[in-house]
Each structure stands twice: as structure tokens, then as C-alpha cells.
Amino acid sequence: MTGMYSEKVMEHFRKPKNMGKIEDADAVGTVGNPVCGDLMTIYIKIKDNKIHDIKFQTFGCAAAIATSSMITELAKGKTLDEALKITRDDVANELNGLPSIKMHCSNLAADALHKAIKNYLQKKEREK
């Protein structure tokens, strides 16, 4: 069954990077669909308009966990503008591709990141 996933996906599934919660996160983004069985939460810490720290928690298949892990690697250290430009396809490409049926349901990490950033920006706006 692992045959449907690239080695890179399995690597990130077996040893995900940056997993867990950030207790004092500046913002959180949660996306997912319980029917498909994928839910993910991204936690971010922002410093100087950059993603200083990022972690994730994911309930889902190997693709969902691997994309979560990958997005944290892609986003870390990036400015908010840069991070907002990371797409679902970027994540999939970095993982050397995803099975086509997983592209829709399980490739949500970019959405979760964008949501976290938007939540952060909205919070900033309100604090002004």
C-alpha cells in the first residue's frame, strides 16, 4: 500500500517535522473535513513579520501528515507575504507528488497555514 506514496511522503509521515502544539502561539489555523477524515491545525509564532516558529497537529492519512510536516518546513523563516504565496501544488511538488485522489482531501496544509496567517493579520488589525 505504501506503493501509492512517494518515498518523500513516507519519510515525512514516519518522522514528521515540527509536530505538536505551540502553547503561546500568535495565531492558529484549523481546516479540514471530518467526512474525508482530515483535520489539521497550524500554530505560528511571528517575529519581525516572519514565521519564527511553526508547528502542526493533524488527524488524517499519511498524505495529510506529510503535507503538514512539509508546510512547516517550507514556511519556517519566511515573511508572511512569502508564506501566503505557498500553494497546495508547491507542497505536493516538494513531496515528489501525491496520489491524485489525495490532492483534494488531504492536501490542506497550505490552507491551514494561510488561515493561521490571516487570523494573525486580523488580530493585528483589531489591536490597532
Partner: protein, 391 residues
């Protein structure tokens, strides 16, 4: 790495004795069972000898068995065969066919196909253990109901239906009763005469026989309309040159099942009970299906905060082959209809794990599984946003 196969509900290894029995029918006795020459006669002999063995396992007459290309085909032949025979009833008020909401797709999709042709089908709900309600079945029956098709035992959660009571009701109301016994055959003695079953499907590859072969029991005197037309093989019900090696394999598998059932059942049930006991010690783990009325080889769990495909791949990394009702591992991306029918939420259904045992499993293998599973669950729960008990 040692590999442990705990997915016997998906398919079983072919018993060595079965393979040995089959081999000569590929290269030596390869005749067409319809041919008159010695090659043909040899094949025909094997065909009838195998029929005897299948009939003997079910304690029925040889002429009540026809060979098919698997469980799916047996279900299709039975259900469509009876439906087409009763096609004029389509124009009456239904339900014409009563089934359950947790059938295998071989039955469910066949029923949906018939629905498109105007038959009215009732899909009976099940309780939290996966058992249909007998009173509801009785109430659902109309004077136009001509077929009840309810599985003997469920392929996912292993729940065994009250088949004898259903058979009784069918008989009293003059309704034909088909049961898909693909998962149950060989694991418990089944005698269609004792349980008032008129049609019964079996599949060879779930009972240590080869894939692509099955059989259908059709009660003597019951007439069904063929859905596969051709040279008139198998009493005209299932045309096509008989798959003699496969049929010999099924016959041998039935012979072995009959001989070994008592011993195998004891061995497998003991391992299964230990597996359930040990796994339920994991925090927030639950058994799906009925605590007693379940197949002796089936263990089905759910774990809070865990998604099945991740669990499956993690087990696979440890050499353990299992199965899940999670959508992520299915082509449809929908959680199992069986788990939803027993009242699980989609998230709960995604957290499910089926371990189905077989005769070649050992106590050591079971111990290994209960040793490694808690670590895997812990790891996945650490990643999961649905597992709140962190820190």
C-alpha cells in the same frame, strides 16, 4: 522483517494442499469438462467430485451447488436471478426486496441497480452492534415482497445476523431467502436446511482457496433466471467453460474446512480473544460490532484521535497487515457505510482498525501485535489535534 498477516477477511493464503490438488488440472488434466474424450471426462470427474465436496460442507445435495467466478458473481446471480423471475411485480407496491444497510457492495450495488429498473428495495437499519431488528423485518414485509437478502456475517465488523429467525420469517411468508455467507463459511457450521435459506453465496478466496472462484447454493426446485447466457454450463444458470483448477481448489478448500473447522475455530478464537482483551487495555479504545455474536476471527476496534490509514501504514512499517474503514484508504473517500450504519460519527469511523485472523497465525504473532500497537497509537495521538489529553 517478520511479516504478520491479519487481513484474512480481505483474502486468505491458499492452503498448500489446495495448490497441490489444483496443479495437475493446469498441465495434465486440462480438458474441457464438456468434451467427450478422456481429457474431457477427467475434467468432468473433477468438477463433479468438487461439487460433492462443496455440497458436503453445506450438508446439501450436489445438484443444489453451481460454481461461479466468486462471491460477487454468486450474489449477482442469486439476487438478479430471482428479481428477473419476478419482474412483473415491479409494478406493484413494494418493498419487493428486503436487505440490510450493511451488506457487502456485491449485494448493495446489485440492489441499487435493480432499483433503477423499478424494483423497490428496503434497506433495513441495524443496531449499534450491527444486527437487524427482527420485528422491523416482519413489519416491512408486504404481500409483494419476493426476496430477502441478508448477509450471514459482516465482512467489516464480523457481526452475525439472526439468520435462523430471518429464515423462519421468510418461510412463513413464502419469501425466498438469500444469504451472503462469504465471510462465515468454514468458520461455523452452516446447513441451509436448518436455517431455511434458499440461496447461499460462498467465495473460495476467503477460505484458503484460490481467487476468482465461488459457488451458489440454490435450493432444489427453486427456479432462477440466468444472467449470463451461453453454452448452458452449470444447469444453464452460469454458462462459461468451467474453471476446473479453480473449482478443484474450492472443492479441496471445502474438504479441508470441514475436516479442520473444530480445531481451527478453537485455535483462532483463543488468539482473537486474547487480542481483543489486550488491545482494549489501550486508553480510549473500543470494540466495534457485537461482543459475542461475531465471527471467530474478527477483531474490530476504534481508537479516539487516530485515523485509520495512518495506523495501517504504521502497522505495515512493523510488518503487520491490517485493514480500516477509513475513507482515506478507500477509493471513494467516504467512511465505511457499515460503521456509519452502526451509528459511528465519520471521525470515529475513520479511527477504525480491523484485524482478521487465520489458521496460520500464532500466539507469538498476536503478542507482537499487542506489543507494538500501543507505541504506534501513542505516536499518532501525539500528532493528532483530536487527542486532547496532551501534556
Amino acid at each position: 522483517m517478520k511479516k504478520i498477516y491479519l487481513d484474512h477477511a480481505a483474502t486468505t493464503p491458499v492452503d498448500k494442499k489446495v495448490v497441490e490438488a489444483m496443479l495437475p488440472y493446469f498441465y495434465k488434466h486440462y480438458g474441457n469438462a464438456s468434451s467427450l474424450h478422456s481429457f474431457g471426462r477427467k475434467a468432468h470427474e473433477a468438477l463433479e467430485e468438487s461439487r460433492k465436496k462443496v455440497a458436503s460442507l453445506l450438508n446439501v445435495k450436489e445438484k443444489e451447488i453451481i460454481f461461479t467466478a466468486g462471491g460477487t458473481e454468486s450474489d449477482n446471480i442469486a439476487i438478479k436471478g430471482i428479481a428477473y423471475k419476478n419482474r412483473e411485480k415491479r409494478y406493484t407496491k413494494g418493498p419487493h426486496i428486503i436487505t440490510s444497510s450493511i451488506e457487502h457492495p456485491a449485494v448493495l450495488e446489485t440492489c441499487k441497480h435493480l432499483e433503477m429498473q423499478g424494483y423497490k428495495i428496503k434497506y433495513l437499519p441495524v443496531d449499534k452492534h450491527g444486527i437487524i431488528n427482527i420485528d422491523e423485518l416482519e413489519k416491512t414485509i408486504s404481500k409483494n415482497t419476493f426476496l430477502i437478502t441478508i448477509m450471514y456475517a459482516n465482512n467489516e465488523i464480523g457481526t452475525i445476523q439472526p439468520i435462523k429467525e430471518i429464515g423462519q420469517i421468510a418461510r412463513e411468508n413464502n419469501i425466498i431467502f438469500h444469504t451472503d455467507a462469504v465471510q462465515a463459511i468454514g468458520k461455523t457450521p452452516i446447513d441451509p436446511n436448518k436455517i431455511n435459506v434458499d440461496l447461499l453465496s460462498i467465495s473460495s478466496h476467503k477460505m484458503y482457496g484460490p481467487k476468482g472462484v465461488g459457488a451458489l447454493y440454490i435450493r432444489e426446485g427453486l427456479s432462477i433466471q440466468p444472467i449470463i447466457h451461453g453454452g448452458g454450463h452449470e444447469r444453464g444458470i452460469r454458462s462459461s467453460t468451467e474453471n476446473i483448477p479453480g473449482i478443484v481448489g474450492l472443492g479441496k478448500a471445502c474438504e479441508l474446512a470441514k475436516k479442520r473447522m473444530e480445531k481451527d475455530t478453537k485455535h483462532i478464537k483463543k488468539m482473537r480473544d486474547k487480542l481483543i482483551k489486550n488491545i482494549l487495555e489501550i486508553e480510549e479504545s473500543y470494540l466495534n460490532g457485537h461482543p459475542q455474536k461475531r465471527l471467530i476471527n474478527n477483531a474490530h476496534f476504534r481508537f479516539t484521535g487516530i485515523e485509520g490509514e495512518s495506523l495501517l501504514l504504521s502497522l505495515d512499517d512493523k510488518g503487520i497487515a491490517a485493514s480500516t474503514g477509513s475513507a482515506c484508504s478507500s477509493k471513494k473517500l467516504q467512511p465505511s457505510h457499515v460503521l456509519i450504519a452502526i451509528g459511528l460519527t465519520p471521525i470515529e469511523a475513520h479511527g477504525s482498525l480491523r484485524l482478521s485472523l487465520g489458521r496460520e497465525n500464532t500466539q507469538e504473532e498476536i503478542s507482537y501485535v499487542t506489543d507494538v500497537l500501543p507505541e504506534i497509537i501513542n505516536r499518532l495521538r501525539k500528532i493528532s489535534p483530536l487527542w486532547k489529553k496532551q501534556e
